[in-house]
């Protein structure tokens, strides 16, 4: 044990030598890329080398602070225990705010379910959203809707988050400042009137995939009113190739639905008909009911 170096209060601290900058620069100049973590390391000062040689730097295992370990532990444990005193208060008076006009079909304390629908790449899927006091909390499939049959997938389940998206527009903005609906209608009216004079030459409509007959009819009527206007459709994750194939097969753009319950064997070539197809939930219901276990 005597061969061990004895570090402690009695070991004098080595004096700090100044770094010779000019020789350091000269040394580093011709050496290309050399990585160092501190200037003392680059300069290879004697105390840096001494630091490397010692396993435990001087005084590392000593607690030299004014607070002793015993006092520290006392403070920590007593704060933990005294924190429980925060519970020894009387219940503060809370306020309760009823409605001004309560919706007639709402029973407070009971959830209300709403039948609604959600578009995914333009194709709508029926949903049922459960809400409590006007706050929607759960989205599920609507078993009465042919595209859902009660089933839901990841997009339907997470649709509830879209309702609470902080980026969701809460008000009409005009150049970033809050504006009103009549102001918006007035501005739109003015622009459309101007375009009307030019047969809509400067008018462009950008929509996603439109499967709604009503919306399609409205857009058609608009295009008839402004013959020079153009309607662009873009869907980032789309079924354009499938639609093209359908056009080749059937002569028109149709979106096929499969009656899987009538088939014994299904071969799918790059068609994820159970996960991303517009009628995926129907396919899942048919596959589960009629085909048993499916091989991947």
């Amino acid at each position: 044990m005597s061969s061990f170096p004895h570090y402690g209060k009695n070991t004098p601290a080595p004096h700090t030598s100044r770094i010779d900058w000019s020789s350091l620069r000269a040394r580093l100049k011709g050496q290309g890329k050399q990585y160092w973590r501190s200037l003392k390391e680059a300069a290879q000062t004697p105390e840096f080398r001494a630091l490397l040689e010692r396993e435990f730097p001087d005084g590392a295992s000593e607690w030299t602070g004014s607070l002793s370990r015993r006092e520290f532990l006392l403070l920590v444990s007593s704060s933990l225990l005294l924190g429980g005193l925060a519970g020894c208060t009387r219940q503060p008076v809370e306020q309760i705010l009823p409605y001004v006009q309560q919706p007639s079909d709402m029973t407070l304390g009971e959830p209300l379910s709403f039948a609604t629908a959600m578009p995914l790449s333009g194709f709508g899927v029926g949903m049922v959203v459960q809400s409590r006091e006007g706050r929607p909390i759960k989205a599920d499939g609507n078993r009465l809707h042919p595209a859902s049959l009660g089933g839901s997938d990841v997009w339907l389940q997470t649709a509830i988050y879209g309702l609470y998206d902080p980026d969701r527009a809460k008000a009409i903005l005009h150049y970033g400042k809050a504006s009103t609906s009549p102001a918006f209608i007035a501005a739109l009216h003015m622009a459309l009137q101007f375009q009307g004079q030019r047969q809509g030459a400067g008018l462009r409509f950008l929509t996603g995939n439109v499967t709604s007959p009503t919306l399609a009819a409205q857009l058609k009527a608009l295009l008839e009113k402004h013959p020079q206007a153009k309607w662009h459709q873009y869907e980032p994750i789309n079924r354009d190739h499938a639609l093209e194939g359908a056009r080749l097969a059937f002569g028109e753009y149709v979106a096929p639905q499969y009656q899987l319950h009538k088939s014994a064997v299904i071969v799918s070539l790059d068609s994820d008909f159970l996960y991303v197809h517009p009628m995926r939930l129907r396919h899942v219901a048919a596959a589960v009911c009629h085909l048993g276990v499916l091989a991947p």
Partner: protein, 218 residues
Amino acid sequence: MPQTFHPRSNSLFRTALLGVPVVICLFGYGVWAVWWSPYMTRVDVALDQPVPFSHQHHVAGLGIDCRYCHVSVETSAFAGLPPTETCMTCHSQVWTDAPVLAPVRQSWAAARPLHWNRVHDLPDFVFFNHAIHIQRGIGCSTCHGQVDQMPLIWKNETLYMKWCLECHRDPTPYLRPADQIYNMDWKPGSNQTDRGEHPLEIHDIHPEFMNDCSFCHR
């Protein structure tokens, strides 16, 4: 040989022998007294409200049923607090200019709710279901007292867990027939407990699992 203890320490020790338990008992009594005092329980302490709504006038005086305002007491966990519209069903035609009703009119006009101070307020870690209590034979006055005699509402009972458990362990003394639920003057008859297990059967109450923690702490 020098003494370790001063002569005074004898009397100090004798005093402490008696004094320390006494102090501990007094402290314990103090805590108990404060805990059950109206300061903590707010029993019989009427809370101020934005509008001094008098249940005594509306229920005893005018004869309005509880359920006209507290609509969901039989069907939902929450008994229901009337919206401003309920007040306006009458007060759009009577007392239309009364200054005391100004906050109600303002709430209606500005479509801003009234801020009532909650008198019967259980902590958030407790689930209390009004509907099941009403359906199983517990009347309003058993827990809320004679509301029709209150010009301003105060708590009649502590609503402490201990108080709830008294009934949950033995509901028989508190059960009443279905037609007496909303009767503020009902008192249990002398033969209430002599009726034995029958009220429990009539009301389909099973105390054996009503005392599980997760019954209320869900």
